[in-house]
Amino acid sequence: MSFLPFAIAIWIFLVGLYGVVSSHHLVHLVICLSVVQSSTYLLLLGIGYRTNGAASIFVDIPLNTKAVDPVVKALTLTDVVVGAAVTALLLALAVQAQKRFGTVDPDELDPLRD
């Protein structure tokens, strides 16, 4: 039972990656990419968890209460913001693709070829 959160993190990572690989729609691709990123949130938070630990906020609990790891929470917060930023940028590209080229299928975009 103790491996379950990590197993789920691995699963989410791979499922999201599969979505990216097999996507026919840019918005779907971007969302799948954010699913891949969210696997790391689960992994980080799962690492820092302590059973029966309180949140690391000591405004109403005494200082030496058992609390979960605060560092992974801060890391996850940073991670979420980074993920949101990249998602926003990619969605802008998706909107642009629809506007300019009439397609949101990632396989139909024309690269610069030699």
């Binding site: 968890y49 405004v59 200082l63 605060p70 913001v81 642009q96 080229f101």
Partner: protein, 270 residues
């Protein structure tokens, strides 16, 4: 689809879609095995003894007088990371503005319904009432969360996002076009940039004061009070500004795309 923009067709690739899928399934299975092998070496779930976290839980409150240790980590101990993270959002918003800026062959116009001859109906009175009344409390809540970030759960990031959702309420209430006519966009951009610059300047103030960059040099009050954690709270406010500005810009750029910008009549269609 017009000629000059690159026809949309499925191009030939060396590998077919089915091959791609099969390749991925095989490598995905291998990656799953590798990750499981790696993660098997983790400490047991629920029983983590990382020294960094344990130490910070013990010393953050006495040292920094901030009862929210996570905010202390974000804005004090690891403030340099937050600087980078803030600028990631800054750069992403700049990039988004670059990509979605109004082009020469576009113009602003009211939203049309796709079906010929139909008008877009506005929001009902009930929706309008509720959404408009919610804007105020949302902004207030955001301000509260930003200001109390060092004490209770919250901080600049969380509060900033909440503030940005006030714009979504306006949109839901059908008042987006009216808001846009007031053109608060330059104000929003200035807010975002001020937040970003503000963070750096507060850090530099530490240097001027004689201590390190991003040092928490302001006097600290008693833990639990509103103004207790020194520069941490100023940084939180700066980040709040930047996030609010950034997300409002993102939302308004996307809303502009769907509602406002249309191909100029007579331009190439597609």
């Amino acid at each position: 689809m017009s000629a000059g923009e690159g026809p949309a067709r499925r191009r030939d690739s060396e590998i077919s879609f089915a091959t791609r899928r099969r390749l991925f399934l095989v490598s995905g299975a291998v990656l799953a095995a590798l990750m499981t092998w790696a993660l098997a070496g983790m400490p047991a779930f629920g029983d983590y003894h990382g020294i960094y976290g344990l130490l910070l839980n013990r010393v953050a409150v006495p040292q920094e007088h901030a009862t929210n240790v996570i905010t202390a980590v974000n804005f004090d101990y690891r403030g340099f990371d937050t600087l980078g993270e803030e600028f990631i959002l800054f750069a992403a918003v700049l990039g988004l503005a670059l990509i979605l800026r109004e082009r020469r062959d576009e113009e602003e116009g009211p939203p049309d319904d796709d079906a010929v001859g139909r008008q877009v109906s506005g929001a009902s009175v009930a929706v309008r009432l509720i959404t408009v009344t919610l804007v105020g409390p949302t902004v207030l809540l955001a301000g509260y969360i930003i200001a109390h970030g060092a004490i209770t759960p919250g901080g600049g990031f969380q509060g900033g996002v909440i503030a940005a959702t006030a714009l979504l309420f306006v949109y839901l209430g059908g008042e987006y076009l009216a808001l846009r006519r007031i053109r608060p966009l330059p104000l929003v951009e200035i807010t975002k940039a001020t937040g970003a610059a503000g963070f750096v300047l507060i850090g530099i103030a530490g240097l001027i004061w004689g201590v390190a960059f991003l040092d928490n040099w302001l006097p600290k009050g008693t833990p639990g009070d509103v103004f207790s954690a020194g520069t941490m709270q100023l940084l939180s406010v700066a980040v709040g500004f930047e996030i609010t500005g950034g997300f409002v810009l993102i939302l308004s750029e996307f809303l502009d795309q769907t509602i406002v910008l249309r191909r100029r009549r007579g331009a190439r269609s597609g």
